[in-house]
């Protein structure tokens, strides 16, 4: 845990890989040099430079920013895999193909927990099939295997770099950090930079084995790709329904190594239980050792084995009741847990221009962290310099629980209140704000607007 906290992971925004329907597959034999060139020629025609225009909320205002990343076409009709941090919040996306043509694309879906997004190229103006890459089997990758990364580092499209698999199952954190609770990573020393995000990591067979997504800030030759076997399943769900639903029971799992004397015991340690969670309701407690979940034996001696168990739980159909067998004080007990839906990674955002602030939905986990009795309120995500909220010293992170004496239930009710109040052109608006255990009254006062003054 300590290591994970110290590790600063940066997102590398980038590109793609392909093997073509229209591209003749080259022979994958001969010397490493020949195979490298063949692999590049097989995949590069399917690599795209992804150029989304994002709508972001910065310093209390909604703004548009251009972004650059990479992606890889995986079907002749133009489905593209990229990172969610490339495609999320995009108002529009253009992809530059290997042919240097710009093609508009739509965002089919994003999954922030795995950092995967699917785009669909709009080929209506082109009327043609596009070259696509073939997905490989990431489980077969061994440390030392040659891999090539493709994409648009710093916007330099059609860049290829070479390296080896440096680690096949790198563990980069857990649910609290929001970093990949459900999978481990392929680590490579192939040069990966900002702009490479979303691009393919390709093996010597010319197949995509990973999606390049992260680098370690301040380090050299430490890039991380999402194994393509993780991507395949997410991709299918995104194409089917535009989102990935997951189950949640509210246990923080720890590897068995965390406790003395358990080296020989198979199972996974419960380090903690979330408030208002199915696991708490079912009677599970910190210190329990889960040995089976829904009839499937589970075991994590080392932390690298945790993501698979997290995924097993997440993949349970939402609302299904499962049996969990756990050891407590050496005695086996069975708990019946009905899973709940895993909440959003991050809530929706809203700009309140008149008040000079942006707010974000309070998610379930945020509500628990803030010790709210239920999911309620909105959290201040930005404050515009010179605006009423800024003048009233409202700060990012404060939770607004009420407006003019009315309780704020969610983003929608906040928006309704905001619109009604701004329509009335009230001089003063009172917010009930909370930070940690402290609450306070924040009075917004309309600022003088020169443009609205009659000469």
């Amino acid at each position: 845990m300590k290591l994970d906290r110290a590790v600063l992971i940066a997102l590398a925004v980038t590109g793609l890989a392909v093997q073509g329907c229209s591209v003749a597959r080259l022979a994958l034999q001969g010397s490493v040099q020949e195979r490298l060139i063949a692999a590049e020629r097989n995949v590069m025609p399917a690599v795209v430079h992804v150029k989304p225009i994002k709508e972001v909320y910065l310093a209390g205002e909604r703004r548009k920013i251009p972004f650059t990343g990479s992606g890889v076409i995986i079907s002749p009709d133009g489905y593209v895999i990229t990172n969610s941090h490339v495609a999320a919040k995009a108002r529009s996306v253009k992809c530059t193909l290997d042919s240097k043509e710009d093609v508009p694309a739509e965002v089919v879906g994003v999954d922030e927990f795995t950092d995967i997004a699917v785009l669909k190229l709009d080929l209506s103006q082109r009327g043609d099939e596009v070259p696509y890459a073939v997905l490989g089997d990431s489980d077969q990758m061994r440390v030392g295997d040659w891999v090539i990364a493709m994409g648009s580092p710093h916007g330099l499209s059609r860049t290829v770099s070479l390296g080896i698999v440096s680690a096949a199952d790198r563990y980069l954190g857990d649910e609290t950090t929001g970093i990949s609770p459900y999978h481990t990573w392929i680590q490579t020393d192939a040069a990966i930079n900002r702009g490479n995000s979303g691009g393919p990591l390709v093996n010597l067979e010319g197949k995509v084995v990973g999606i390049n997504s992260r680098v370690l800030l301040g380090a050299t030759g430490l890039g991380f790709a999402i194994p393509i076997n993780v991507v395949g399943e997410i991709k299918n769900k995104l194409i089917q329904s535009g989102k990935v639903s997951r189950s949640w029971i509210g246990v923080d799992l720890q590897e068995m190594e965390s406790l003395p004397g358990l080296e020989q015991t198979r199972g996974v340690l419960v380090g903690g239980i979330s408030e208002r969670s199915p696991a708490l309701g079912a009677g599970l407690a910190a210190g329990d050792i889960i040995v089976s979940y829904d009839g499937v034996p589970v075991s994590a001696k080392f932390k690298e084995e945790l993501p698979a168990i997290n995924k097993l739980i997440a993949d349970t159909p939402i609302g299904e009741t499962v049996e969990i067998v756990a050891l407590r004080g050496g005695v086996s007990r069975t708990f019946s847990v009905t899973t709940a839906a895993k909440g959003a990674f991050q809530g929706e955002e809203l700009e309140c221009e008149e008040w000079g602030l942006t707010v974000r939905e309070v998610t379930e986990s945020m509500a628990r962290l803030a010790k709210l009795d239920r999911k309620m309120g909105v959290v201040v995500s930005g404050v515009r310099v010179g605006g009423p909220a800024n003048n009233a010293a409202l700060t990012v992170g404060e939770i607004i629980l009420g407006v003019d004496g009315t309780t704020v239930d969610d983003l929608e009710s906040f928006n309704t209140l905001y619109e009604r109040i701004t329509e009335q052109e009230k001089e003063l608006v009172l917010l009930d704000a909370k930070r940690g255990p402290l609450t306070r009254f924040v009075l917004l006062k309309r600022t003088w607007d020169e443009e609205k003054v009659d000469e």
């Binding site: 845990m1 965390s258 406790l259 210190g287 255990p437 402290l438």
Partner: protein, 473 residues
């Protein structure tokens, strides 16, 4: 006998402060040169010499050492320091800048160096919270000399434009020679208490030095407010040299501060600004708005509610419209004494009403909390105090021990324990008091287990980790 050793230690410190101090010395002499130009008549060269002669033997330097925790280095750091002091009483009472004694950094190895170079052991007295000055007292009455001391004017008056003289001590490189500077009173700062700003700004050697008026009387000292992290009130004012006039500290010279229990209500407050008053339809006359009510506090028991506007406390009207005035109210509560009830007049829902609140002693703070350091485990733990419960947003009434420090590469640190980890169970046992913890560690040291399980809480999550002691170490 100790003077040569102390000198060496002092010199080490002096190197780091050298640039600042030399700059200050130059400033001082620069200012002194001014009257000779004839531009200024208040302090003639004769008068300056007379003032310096009269006060210089009451100026001393105080050498001391401090130890504090550096969270980045994960270890305690020790530093030698010194400052200017003024002898203010014939009983060996010396006034110094308040930074000598901070809540988290207690001075030790305190010695007073007289103009002759002789050094005497001294001790730091309790510190008053209202004004950032500290007092040290010589400890050995048998050997200490009779010291000349400075008497301050009882009710000094300063105004913008007044010319003043500030006396101070040069750094060790300049043999701790006495020096002075001329300055003008440039500004008056009214809240939270009236202090003055001098121009040019006094330099380091002048901090803690006396301020002399045109009549040649001592009217105050050069001080510096504390940063909020040091227990001060206003963060942004830290670091500015201010003139504290004698009315702010004279009572402390006469009755050196002792520990007085402070009262608390258990509320967080904000001022009733005119805008808030307008919004609520109240008179724009200021007041104290209860913004947060702490559970199980005297205020809650007395029936106060969030949103109440306090107008009178303990017979005194309160009319805060600004943050500084709200802070003055908090001070008023702290200093109102404990063990009785205080009447409160407040406005709730537009109606005036009366309540009576019990004045209880403010709970212990983290700085006052009992700590225990175990060198073998490389771990210092601290009782969880009420302020920590609030700061970390723990459940009200949470008791137990929290990791205060870990030693770098010590057993605790290697296991992953960090400052802020709350120890819920150690070796399977609940530990809530320092005593229990000491006993448990003693027992563990007896048994010498290969591994020790720790169940911790941090940031609303719990988890396990294990300490692997190296008993052979």
């Amino acid at each position: 006998m100790t003077s040569s050793r102390c000198g060496t230690r002092g010199r080490r410190f002096a190197t780091s402060a050298f640039a600042v101090l030399v700059a200050g010395a130059v400033l001082g002499f620069g200012a002194a040169a001014e009257p000779e130009g004839g531009a200024n008549a208040t302090f003639s060269p004769e008068k300056i010499r007379e003032v310096v002669d009269r006060f210089k033997d009451a100026l001393v330097t105080v050498d001391y050492s401090t130890e504090y925790y550096d969270p980045r280095a994960q270890r305690n750091v020790k530093r030698d320091r010194y400052c200017t002091g003024i002898v203010v009483g014939g009983t060996g009472l010396i006034m110094v800048r308040g930074h000598v004694s901070l809540p988290d950094v207690k001075p030790f190895n305190v010695r007073v160096r007289l103009p002759s170079g002789e050094q005497y052991d001294a001790t730091v007295l309790e510190k008053d919270k209202r004004i950032n000055v500290a007092f040290v007292k010589l400890v050995n009455r048998d050997t200490e000399p009779d010291l000349p001391f400075i008497t301050f004017v009882r009710e000094p008056s300063l105004a913008v434009g007044d010319e003043i003289m500030v006396l101070g001590v040069l750094p060790e490189a300049l043999d701790f020679e006495r020096t002075f500077m001329l300055a003008h009173v440039a500004s008056v700062i009214e809240t939270p208490r009236r202090v003055f700003v001098a121009s040019p700004a006094p330099s380091f050697g002048m901090l803690g030095g006396p301020v002399i008026n045109a009549e040649g009387e001592a009217v105050g000292v050069i001080g510096q407010d504390l940063a909020r992290s040091e227990g001060g009130e206003i963060y942004i004012r830290a670091g500015y040299a201010l003139i504290y006039t004698a009315d702010l500290f004279q009572h402390l010279i006469e009755n050196p501060p002792t520990k007085v229990p402070e009262a608390y209500l258990g509320v967080f407050i904000q001022p009733l600004t005119d805008d808030l008053a307008q919004y609520w339809g109240l008179e724009k006359a200021g007041g104290i708005v209860v913004s947060t009510l702490i559970k199980d506090s005297p205020a809650e028991r007395a029936g106060l509610l969030r949103g109440d506007v306090i107008k009178m406390f303990d017979g005194q009207p309160v009319s805060a419209k600004e943050d500084a005035e709200a802070r003055a109210f908090m001070r008023m509560v702290r200093e109102s004494g404990v063990g009785r009830d205080a009447p409160i007049t407040l406005i709730r829902g537009g109606e005036e009403m009366q309540l009576s609140v019990p004045l209880e002693e403010s709970p212990k703070t983290a700085a006052e909390a009992e700590k225990y350091e175990d060198k073998q485990f490389g771990l210092t733990v601290r009782e969880i105090t009420a302020d920590y419960v609030l700061g970390a947003d723990l459940d009200p009434g949470t008791e137990g021990l929290v990791v205060d420090q870990v030693e770098r590469a010590g057993w605790a640190s290697l296991a992953g324990l960090l400052p802020g980890h709350i120890l819920r169970r150690v070796d399977g046992k609940q530990v809530t008091t320092i005593e229990e913890f000491k006993k448990l560690l003693a027992d563990i040291k007896e048994r010498k287990p290969k591994e020790i399980a720790v169940f911790f809480e941090r940031g609303r999550r719990t988890g396990f980790l294990r300490i692997e002691p190296d008993w052979e170490e």
